[in-house]
Structures are given as C-alpha cells and as structure tokens.
Symmetry: C2
Subunit: 222 residues, 2 copies
Amino acid sequence: MEEAHPSSETGGNVGRSADKRRAILNAAEDVFLRSGYLGTNMDEIAAQSQVSKQTVYKHFGSKDALFIEIVTTMTNEAGDLVHPEDVPELTDFHELADYLCDYAYRQLAVVLTPRLMQLRRLVIGEVVRFPDLARTLYEHGPQRAISALAAAFERFTDRGLLTVSDPQTAAIQFNWLVMSAPLNQAMLLGDSAIPPPAELRRYAEQGVTTFLAAYGRPAAQT
Amino acid sequence: MEEAHPSSETGGNVGRSADKRRAILNAAEDVFLRSGYLGTNMDEIAAQSQVSKQTVYKHFGSKDALFIEIVTTMTNEAGDLVHPEDVPELTDFHELADYLCDYAYRQLAVVLTPRLMQLRRLVIGEVVRFPDLARTLYEHGPQRAISALAAAFERFTDRGLLTVSDPQTAAIQFNWLVMSAPLNQAMLLGDSAIPPPAELRRYAEQGVTTFLAAYGRPAAQT
DNA sequence: CCGTCAGTACTGTACCGTCTAGTCTAAGCG
DNA sequence: CGCTTAGACTAGACGGTACAGTACTGACGG
C-alpha cells in the first residue's frame, strides 16, 4: 500500500526522501491553514502526510521551522503570481483604462482565493509571535504591487495619459481603491464572502473609474 | 493592604463583586490581546486580576465566554467612538472638504490605536473559530461607517456639493481611500508602524483630495 | 549490513475546569 | 456586644487531556 506512489518516478532513495518532504509540506500547509499555528499538532501533520513523526522532525527541525517554511514559501509563490510583468506601450486613454481594469481584476482574482485569504488571516493573527513573516508578506504583497504601479504611473504621466504628481501616493490609492472593499469583507466574513468573478470585475471597474476620474487627463475623459 | 481600594466606595458585597468582575475583564483584555485566544491561559488572567481562578469561572462560565465578552465589548465601544454624529448643514464646497478631512482624521486616530489594531488582528486570526465575532466587528466597524457615509453623500449630492450617482460605492471608496494604506501597514508591520498624528492627517487629506477630484462638482473645484 | 523509515511508546510540560477547605465581610438577632 | 448565617472570595491541589519532541524497536531496500 505504501508503494502506490513509486517515488515520483525517480525510484532512487533521494527522490523518495524528496517525496516525503513534499508530502509533509503539503499536509502541513493544509493543517496550519485550517487550525492556525497553536491549534496545529505535529501528530496530525505526520498522519496526514503518511509519514512518521520522526521523519517530520528529520526534515524540519521544529514546529516553528516548519511553519516558517510553509508561510514564506506560500508568500513568495503568491507574490510571483501577481507580479506585474512589463507594462505594454500604451498610447490611447481607452487602452489605459482597459489595461488598468485587467490588471486590477487579475490582482483581485489571485488574492481573493480561500488559500491566500487564510494565509493572510494566519499571518495577521501571528504578527506578535512571528513579526518577520508578516513583514515578508507585506513586502511581497502590497509593497511590491505598489512599487510597480508607481513606476507605471510615472511613465503614463510622462506619456501624457495621466496627471499624477505623486506616483507613490497614486499607486497606493489605486491599489487599495481596487482591493480594499472585497479584501476586508472576505477577511472578516470568511471564504463564503469571497465575491464571484463577475463581482470582482465590477470592483475592478469601479476602482479604475474613480481613479481615472481623479487622475485621468481632463481633456481625455469620456 | 487589601483595603487600599474600598470596593469602589460602595463598601457592599455587591460593589466588591462588581470590582472583581471589572478587574477580571481588564486583565483578560490585556492577556488575550497580548497572547491570543489559544495562547492565553486562565491562570494568568486570574493572577493578573488578583483574583482566584474560581472567581473567574463564577463570573464567566468558560474561556470561550470570557473571550467573547471581551471582544464584543471592545468592538461595541470602538464602534460608538467613531460613530458619525449628525452631519452639520454644509453649503460651501470648502466647508465640505474641511468636514471630510476632519471626519477622516478622527476615524484614523481612533482605529489606528495599538489596542484596536491588536483586537483586529486577534479577531481576524480567529475567524474560523469565532466567525460571529468577526461578523460583529465587520458590522460595527466598516459597515456602520460606510452606511453613515452613504447617507451623508446622498444629502451632499442633493445639495449640489457632490456628484455621486451610487452613494454606496462612493462611501466604500471614500472609507478605504482614507483608511486602507495606514491600516494595512500597521496591521502587518506591528504597532511600531502606526503613523504619528501628523502623518495620519496627511493620509486623510490625500484621501479627501482624490475623492473630491473624482466626485466633487467640477465647477466648484479649486 | 547500513541507512531510512514506520510505528509507537515515552517524557515532560501545559492547561482547562473542578473541587476542597478555609477566610473575609456584611447583616440579622438576642 | 457576641453569635450566627449567607454569600463571595482565596489558595492550591487534582483529574483529565493534549501536545512537542525524543527514544526505541523492527522492517525494508540496496
């Protein structure tokens, strides 16, 4: 029964060990997200990953270490997912509006996921115990997005598509104008309050509309 | 030595019991905010409130009950603090801008307090275990503020000071335009990241400026 | 044979909620 | 004033459970 998964096709001892490690990580992610840090016990992780507790402690020295590993890995992966790739060359005001809408929606669709919402709750709840994890989440999440947006807004302003005097502030406002409402709602009301895609698109559009009403070049509007 | 505080001047057994209850609540608030729900043990609460554990269980039946009592009380009190009182009669666009700035700043100053920030973290971290507490916080916090704002914006629009077609959306956007950036920052970076009053005022002004740029009557601006 | 792992027992600690035995205070009564 | 009663409180022990991390035994694969 234990041989159902033949070491992910490598067959070697090394591959088997790596498989165990992967299984532990998967199980630990699940359990930590479901039960929180203190509410998680290592026995359950071992059981769910079909691995003995000793193996868990062989791969990750302690509960703390495993928790930190899980959270930083998830944070990094999530940060890469929303990574704003190179901004295309836009010349038209309409193009800009469409681009901002798409960007906003993509960001919303990634962040407003049960897994990532629960990660956020988890990290926030453990700010006192693990301040570094929270700082990492902040830097890889909001801060990263805002920096990229600020740079983009500066270029758009140079190109005459926006009238932004303080790109940093504009970026912060755009980011939260789009994300805040659904994020806070889902944060406190639980995963069942995560809006469906159509509604997320509405949030994106409303945010972009207001942003452009404030920062769009007056001559170019409508 | 025990007679330093003579039962809050009533002297009676009833007054003494009420004092104990108050002491327990104070200690419990402190310990829960500091250590979280699971991280808190009842012995510490009893010790810190200078009360025997038996008395704690006499006043509040269980750890859950005490926790719920603490959180709902704090939530209600905080909600009352920022309660938008009756909006004055405004006729001038400049008056409106000043009023919105003051309102925004007051809200920020109340919410961005170590005690309330930690309450927020605590509730968010326990969303799964205590969903009702999170819902209460949402209703007494953001939702309450947004409803009041929406009503005010509708009146301002009738009076010709704003051009708001969807008061609910405008209220949501105003609320988060002002609060999001410092709130999220302090949430993840800890109490040391709570901005000083001068900076809070800047957040308020920037939020109001962008809001009015989008929703202020074009003729009346500047 | 040697390394890796499963299974499991074990240690030490922490903690919720209860229980017991006794103290303190206010009040009623002779 | 002395005695009693009732209720609230203290201090600490205790039962039962949970859990982090370790130790040990036996099996399996190369």
